[in-house]
Structures are given as C-alpha cells and as structure tokens.
C-alpha cells in the first residue's frame, strides 16, 4: 500500500467510551460473560476503525479498545507471569503481578486481534505492543537477579509474538516505552533489550516514547535529551515523540545527533480537550520539517486518545489530517 508523504497515524488507543468502561467493569464484577464482552469489543473496535478512516488517517490501529490498559493486556497473556485477579476494582486499574520463576518462551496470542483489524480495513494497519521496559516496571520480580534480566526474557517472549504478528500480515509494529522518560538511568540496558525484542522481526519498527498518559496526565517531566546518544544504537525505523504539549524544543536533537531513523512527530495534545485547528497542526508539522526531511516524517498525536471524549478525539484527528494536507500541498504533493 502506497502511503502519501507525511503519512498520518495514531499512537494507538482511541477514545474509550464511557459505556464500554462500565461494561468492562461489569465483566470484572461477573455481571456479564466473557463471550458477551468479546462481542462488545468487536463492535467497539469496528467503530474505532470507522472513525479513524472517516477522519482520513492513513495508518490506523484497532483503537486498543480490547485492552483494559496498556500493561494488563500483555501481562495476563505472558506465560509465567502470576496475576492476582482480585487486585482490580475498576477495569483500568493495574493487576498486581509477579514473576516467580524463569519465563517460558511462548507467544502471547494477540495476533488474532491484529487479524481482526486487517479484516475490517483497507487502510495500512499498525499494531502496538507495550515494550519490555514498561512491563518490567509493573512486575514484582521474585526470580531474576535484576530488572535487565527480567526485561531481556520478556523481550525474548515478546519477540516470538512480534513474529506471529508479521505472519498475520503486520507490516508496522509500534513498541510503546513510556517509562523510559521516568527512568532515564535505565537507558543503557533498555536499548540492548529493545534490540533483543526486534531481532529478526521483518516489519517496520516504531518506538513510541512519551512522558506518560496514565489517566490523561503526564507522569514525568523533562527533556528527550536523555535519550541521546544511546538511542542511536536502537535497531528501529522510527522514533515517535510528543511535541504538541511540550513544544518543539527537543526537535533540535534531531539536527544535533542526526539519528538514522524516521521521526513520528506528535502534533496533537491529547491531555487537553481543546481541539487544535488545522493551521496549528500545519505550523507544528512545518516546525518539524526544519529538522527532519518530509520523506522521513510521520504525523501523529502526542500519545493515545484513550482519555478524550469520542467527539473531541475525532475532531482532533480531523484537524491533524487537514493540517497535514495543507503542508503536503505546500510541498507540491
């Protein structure tokens, strides 16, 4: 599938409807069945696909609406991770979980969800996977000597799943690592683990690094400078960063370090319900183009739209697409 210059995409999650939140929580209270919840998820995902397509987004996801949060969807499928199922009151809460022995190497079985997405769209599709560093921070480690060792085994297991996703037709896979920004001192081993994760995976690998979006608020503050130069060793194709909320100061790092990968530039602030105008988006894209050539830029929101009301999320995506089209025109495309 040929993508236009400055393709637009989403970071992963789409607006989580209030009714779906309630139904997910009902499931935890054992008031609806797994079968019913699966059907509800299927329909919610189809609606999210339709919204992204209608907004004109080039590379879409399933909106991650099957996921309770970015951690538990993977952790409860990872063989060897012990889940305390009583530890959750509201669906969005994190499970308490632990690792008490060496993780068995087996895929997680999420490729079916990607297949579902592919069945219902003609658009380019992307699947997002929470990275081993973030998952490690949520696991109570009772076996491995240190976090790096646990993360490395998580990366090996997830690597099998990435290969399953490729078999299912995934050509773009995004690794979400929002905890890098909270633990910059981990970066040395994070990059090694990231390379283990993507080894031999025949797909375009995008890494999304932000400052957190839990409950729709930032978890950390700072500058992306901590990523450099170590991140240059990552065997990935694109780095997707947030610039709308934080401003474009860190774009200069792309001029300073000339990374070998593309830039996914965040132009939509997902932590406010104020809808950007297309002009604002265009301005932000133009700013990014001062540092990275258009052929190597993808346009996205800062992070997932999970916490935004649906009408706001949709309006923001429309503005993103329209603003990007303005810049494409200026480029003669």
């Amino acid at each position: 599938m040929k993508l236009p210059i400055l393709p637009t995409s989403v970071v992963g999650s789409y607006s989580m409807p209030g009714w779906l939140e309630r139904l997910k929580t009902e499931y935890f209270a054992r008031r609806i069945s797994r079968h019913d919840l699966d059907e509800i998820h299927d329909n919610a995902v189809k609606a999210a696909i339709k919204d992204q397509e209608a907004a004109g987004v080039d590379i879409i996801t399933d909106g991650e609406l099957r996921r309770d949060n970015m951690m538990d969807y993977f952790l409860e499928r990872l063989p060897g991770v012990q889940i305390d199922r009583s530890s959750k009151k509201f669906y969005y809460d994190f499970y308490n979980c632990s690792v008490q022995g060496k993780l068995p190497m087996a895929a997680l079985g999420v490729a079916g969800d990607f297949q579902f997405l592919k069945n219902f769209t003609e658009h380019e599709a992307k699947f997002c996977v929470t990275g081993p560093h973030a998952l490690t921070k949520r696991i109570h480690n009772e076996f491995y000597p240190n976090e790096e060792a646990l993360a490395t085994d998580l990366a090996r297991a997830l690597n099998l799943e990435l290969k399953e996703l490729v078999k299912a037709g995934a050509r773009i896979i995004q690794i979400d690592e929002p905890y890098y920004s909270g633990f910059p001192d981990d970066l040395d081993w994070c990059v090694k683990v990231l390379n283990t994760l993507v080894e031999g995976v025949d797909a375009k690998i995008v890494v999304h690094i932000c400052y957190g979006n839990r409950y729709g608020k930032p978890t950390w503050e700072g500058s992306y400078r901590y990523l450099f130069p170590r991140i240059l060793e990552a065997k990935v194709h694109q780095l997707t960063l947030e610039f709308a909320r934080r401003g474009g100061e860190d774009l200069d790092l792309f001029r300073e370090f000339k990374p070998p990968f593309e830039l996914g530039v965040g132009v939509i602030d997902v932590k406010t319900q104020a809808v950007e105008t297309a002009d604002t988006v265009a301005e932000r894209v133009r700013k990014a183009l001062e540092f990275v050539p258009a052929e190597r830029v993808t346009v996205l929101p800062d992070c997932g739209c999970f916490h935004l009301p649906r009408d706001i999320a949709f309006a923001k995506l429309c503005a993103m697409v329209e603003g990007t089209r303005q810049v494409r025109k200026e480029l003669g495309q």
């Binding site: 209030g18 309630r22 929580t25 509201f90 994190f94 400052y211 957190g212 839990r214 409950y215 729709g216 608020k217 930032p218 978890t219 950390w220 503050e221 700072g222 932590k271 406010t272």
Partner: protein
C-alpha cells in the same frame, strides 16, 4: 413506623424518642393521622449541630410525585436541639397539616409563610445568593456585628492559620522540592496556589516559614517560589496583601472562581506543585440526595420566611408584608444600600437571613434529566458507589466541591499535590450518626463535604485521596485531604 435516631444523644432535649412515638400515637387516635399513614411514617430525630440553620423544630418532607411507589407518604424530621418542652405536639400538628391537608386542622403551608422561591435543587436556591452577598459585603456585615468572620468559626479562629499546621505543610513542600532536585527534575519556577485566601494570613505564614527553612538548610529554593493567592473577591485579595508584604516579589494575586480555577489558570496546567484550600469546599453550592426503599431522590428546597418573622421584619422596617419578597430581591441585587441607610440595610439583611428556612421535598432521580447530576455521578456510577452505603441514607452530593476538584486537579504537576482542610464525611455510616449541614455560619452557608464521592472521583482522575485528622486543635472536626499519584 420507622424511627431513625440520627445522632448519638449526649445532651437533654425538649423531647425524647418515647415522647414522639406517644405524641404520634395520640394524633392517630384523635384522627389527625390515618392508620396506613402512621404505619408508613419515617421519623428522623436529629441534633442540628449548627445553632443557626434552615430548619423548623419539626419539618415534614414529602415526595413530589404521588406515584413513585415504595416511599412513605412523608418523612418527619424533628430537631431535638430546637424543640422545647411542651412544644412537640403543636409543632407536629403544625408541620404535618400541610403535608396531609385532608386530615389536618391547620392552614395550608403557604399561609403560614412568605415564599421566596419555587422548589428547586439547593445549589440554585436563593440561600446561595445570600452567601454570595455575605462574601462580597463582608466588611459591612462585620461592622454591624462588631466581630470578624473568623470569630464565628469553632474555636474563634481559622484552622488555616494554625502555625504548626502551616509549619508541617512547609516542611512537606520542602521535602518534595528536595526530592525533585535529587532526581534532577527541579523546575526553574515552583508554583504554589492557595484558593480562598481570606486575610492572607496563611499565605504569609507559609512564605515566612518556607523562607526560614530554606535559609536554615541553605537550599536556595525560595527565589523559585511563585505563590499565587486566589480568591473570587478582589476586595479580599486587596486585604490579603498586607499579610504577604515581605514577599511581594514571590506573590501574584489572582481573581478566580473556586469552582473552576483551571479557567483562569489554564496556562499553568500540569505546572503547579502544591495547591491548598481551607474551608472552601464547605461553602460551595451543594445539594443532597436520599435513598429510600431502594430508590434515589434529590432533595429540592424552597426558601421561605415564617409568617411571624415576616410580619415582625416588615413592621420593623416599615414595609408591607406583600413587599418583603421584592425588597429581598433588591437587597440581593443592589446590596444593603438599597435601603438608603446602609446600616439599616444590613440590619434588614441580617434579620431576613436569620429567619430564612428551607422547606424540602423529594424528587425521584429517575424523573430528572441526566444533567441534574454532576458528570462524575451518572446513575450507574452512583449505584456502584452506593453499594457500600446503608440502604436508607441521606447524603451530600457536594456538587460544588466536585466541580472545583475536577477543575483543580489538571493544574497539578506530575509530582504536585492538593491539600484541602475542611469538614469531610469519609464513611457512609457517618450520615446516620449526625447532621452534616447545611447550617448558617454568620452570614454564610456551611456544609460538610462528601469525601467518599471525592475519593471515587479522584481515583478515576489518577489520584488516591487520603484524609488525616487535623490534630493541631483539640476537638477539631476538620480533616486534611491530600492527594497522591495513583499508579
């Protein structure tokens, strides 16, 4: 008949539970009540904590819809603090007649009172306009009473200004800043916001304390502090300047609405390290709900003046009784100067306020539009929260506090925290053990705040909420709410 004793009796009163049962039984025998009505009566015995409040010694609360099903025909609320020896029977007869006109021997409700409004949710009641007037014209009220508003508080002073409490708050903030520095996350500006600053005393104490601690520890954080004093009254902000005059370089004075600080300070979204409020939530528009026989009801109110008070006030101020309501409206619009002589205007205001009562009725929530409830409390959420509550419970919705809370949290930085000193209900069972407002405190309204609803709201917004007792003043009912980041 259900008799609910909503307080732990400690003091003697003009009536006992036995008196009430006996009186109602005699009313039944004399034909003032029907057998079925007697059987369905729900009688609440309260001890109204606030000497000045909006209730008669006996109040009847009826259901607005006759076909709601399940609800007793009406509830009777007896204030054991107000009732005097020998008054129970006439008060009961008087109060129950309007709710049951076909059996009553007394005039209908509207004849013994001057109505000031139609039934409506408490948050929109005229009572809040009096509250607003009080804060706008505080100086005139104080001149007339001869004492400052803080003297009306329990203990005669505001808990906001307790030196040890402020000192501990300063130390907590310093610890946070130190930790930020250790983690190389110290911002160039440290924003602190106090909402509802009063005389500015707490802000002054806080800044004095932080400057001193900073000097002692040689950390040089003080120059980074940007202290925002926020209040909706420009006059109050002006008065607060004297208390912080030694720190003017650090201070900004912001007129803001406590219900929506974000509206004024949106440029500081996710940037403020610490927000403090004392006794703000308890003075924000509120309303109550009741669950009876498994159904939820909104308590609607109608402000009125008892006829005897209306007559007395009209006479004293040379007004016709029929002009009272119009005169009160002018007072609320134009202030006490409407009377020409301001002191006389304040006198009228004080007398009307003291006499004002609220009649109540219950309206089934199912019959209300969805927007009647705060966005945090749609029906399914509310049902979920009330699973932990007693089956029959009357509670505050804390509409204003929820709105303020919702519009304050987005201002907090990633490590920022909110601290609120106020009177909170933190267990559902507390609602069965005492009256929690609304009451009158000088010319303002005071209401306990439903900490349980705030806690639920906080959790969904990514914060855990904690309540600590205010241990700095013996016998204080104040709690300190503070937030921590939720994983």
């Amino acid at each position: 008949m259900i008799l609910q004793l909503n307080h732990l009796p400690k003091k003697t009163s003009g009536a006992s539970a036995q008196d009430i049962v006996a009186t109602l039984q005699s009313m039944l025998e004399e034909g003032h009540l029907e057998q079925e009505q007697f059987a369905n009566l729900c009688v609440h015995l309260d001890w109204i904590q606030y000497k000045q409040n909006f209730r008669e010694p006996v109040m009847v609360v009826a259901c607005a819809e006759q076909n709601s099903g399940g609800l007793p025909f009406f509830e009777v609320h007896v204030d054991l603090r107000q009732i005097v020896q020998g008054a129970l029977r006439p008060e009961l007869l008087k109060a129950m007649a309007p709710a049951n006109p076909e059996f009553g021997h007394h005039a209908p409700a509207t004849d013994d009172r001057v109505l000031l409004e139609e039934f409506q949710p408490f948050r929109t009641s005229i009572a809040w306009r009096f509250n607003h007037l009080y804060w706008q014209r505080l100086a005139e009220w104080e001149r007339s009473t001869g004492h400052g508003y803080e003297e009306a508080l329990p203990g005669g002073r505001s808990d906001a200004n307790h030196p040890r409490a402020v000192g501990d708050g300063v130390a907590d903030f310093w610890t946070l800043v130190r930790d930020l520095e250790t983690k190389k996350q110290l911002p160039s500006e440290l924003f602190v916001l106090e909402i509802g600053v009063g005389m500015g005393t707490r802000a002054g104490l806080w800044l004095d304390g932080f400057q001193k601690l900073d000097r002692e520890r040689g950390t040089n954080y003080y120059p980074r502090v940007r202290f925002l004093l926020g209040d909706y009254s420009p006059a109050t902000l002006e008065r607060s300047k004297a208390a912080v005059r030694a720190h003017m370089e650090q201070c900004s004075f912001v007129v803001l609405d406590a219900l929506n600080p974000l509206q004024t300070l949106s440029f500081l979204r996710h940037k403020i390290q610490h927000i403090h409020m004392t006794n703000v939530y308890d003075n924000l528009p509120d309303e109550e709900m009741a669950r009876r026989d498994g159904r939820l009801y909104l308590v609607e109110v109608r402000a009125y003046l008892p006829a005897t008070d209306a007559e007395r006030i009209a006479q004293e101020f040379g007004l016709a009784q029929r002009d009272l309501a119009r005169c009160i409206e002018r007072l609320l619009e134009a202030g006490p100067e409407h009377f020409g002589d301001r002191a006389r205007g304040v006198g009228f205001w004080m007398q009307v306020w003291a006499a004002m009562r609220l009649e109540e009725q219950l309206v089934c929530v199912d019959e209300l539009p969805a927007e009647a409830l705060p966005p945090e409390l749609d029906r399914s959420r509310l049902d979920e929260m009330l699973r932990e509550a007693p089956s029959d419970v009357r509670f505050h919705v804390s509409t204003g506090a929820l709105e303020s809370f919702r519009n304050t949290l987005p201002l907090l930085s990633t490590r920022g925290y909110l601290q609120v000193q106020d009177i909170f209900v933190t267990q559902w069972s507390e609602y069965q053990l005492g009256f929690h407002g609304p009451g009158k405190l000088d010319g303002s309204i005071v209401n306990w705040v439903n900490g349980l609803l705030l806690r639920e709201t906080a959790e969904r917004a990514g914060y855990d909420l904690h309540f600590a007792p205010f241990r700095y003043r013996e016998g204080s009912r104040t709690s300190i709410l503070f937030t921590t980041q939720r994983e």
